[in-house]
Amino acid sequence: MTDDKKKFFDRVKSNEYYMRWGKNAFPYVTAALLLSLFQIVTLAVTGNPWGVSGTFAYWGAWLFEAVGGSVDKWYYFASTGAQATLEKGILNHPESWRNVGIITGALAATLIASGFKIKKIKSMKQVVAAVIGGLMMGYGARLALGCNIGAFYSGISSLALSGWVFAVSLFIGAVIGSKLLVKYFM
């Protein structure tokens, strides 16, 4: 790197606005306000409340169809709404675009803060816990018709009682999860 360039980045690194907007994490209140704002935008634009994990079920279905499978007879995709979504395809699915946006946005944020790092897998225990935990969360979210975004966050912000039921269950699950974590990961 030439000296000029190096000096430029040294200046950016200590710049007050870069520190505030790019480097340091936003305060919780700022993040909460932004989340509230964007979930209103989401509801207004797409007509559906914010959800994340339901999209992964569709991604799975499209993938399965791409290799020649069919989910027409599956109970989960049996409704006309679900069939219409599958018919329209991934490019016409707002939730898919939003999920891609979340992933690329998170990547951009960590790159701007120069905090990107590929983390080492420390033990086999982490792999086992991630696989089992991921499967249980994914399956549970489909049974509950939503994850902590679709069923909890969007449920409560739509003034639905189901959101609060989900919150209580989430809390119980978190307590059990913490106990398991301390038992097996400490």
Partner: protein, 75 residues
């Protein structure tokens, strides 16, 4: 006065926090605990806990996405 390194690289929240809380109990007053982390949310909750408990805390960015939280057990 001694310095103790706690390697929490590759550990997700809240493991670094609980490990740091357990480790500091074993230390004497005046000792320094250095928690090595690469999970950005630990950069928030580890210093928050340590400051609330009244210890001296400093966070140092050692590399891209790697930090050391330096905690002095003051009491």
């Amino acid at each position: 006065m001694k310095e103790v390194m706690l390697d929490c690289f590759g550990e997700a929240c809240p493991v670094p926090l609980v490990k740091a809380q357990n480790k500091i109990k074993e230390l004497e007053i005046g000792d320094v605990l250095i928690v090595q982390i690469d999970h950005s949310c630990a950069m928030k909750n580890v210093p928050e806990w340590a400051r609330k408990d009244g210890y001296n805390v400093e966070v140092e960015e050692v590399d891209d996405g790697e930090w050391e939280v330096i905690i002095e057990k003051t009491k």
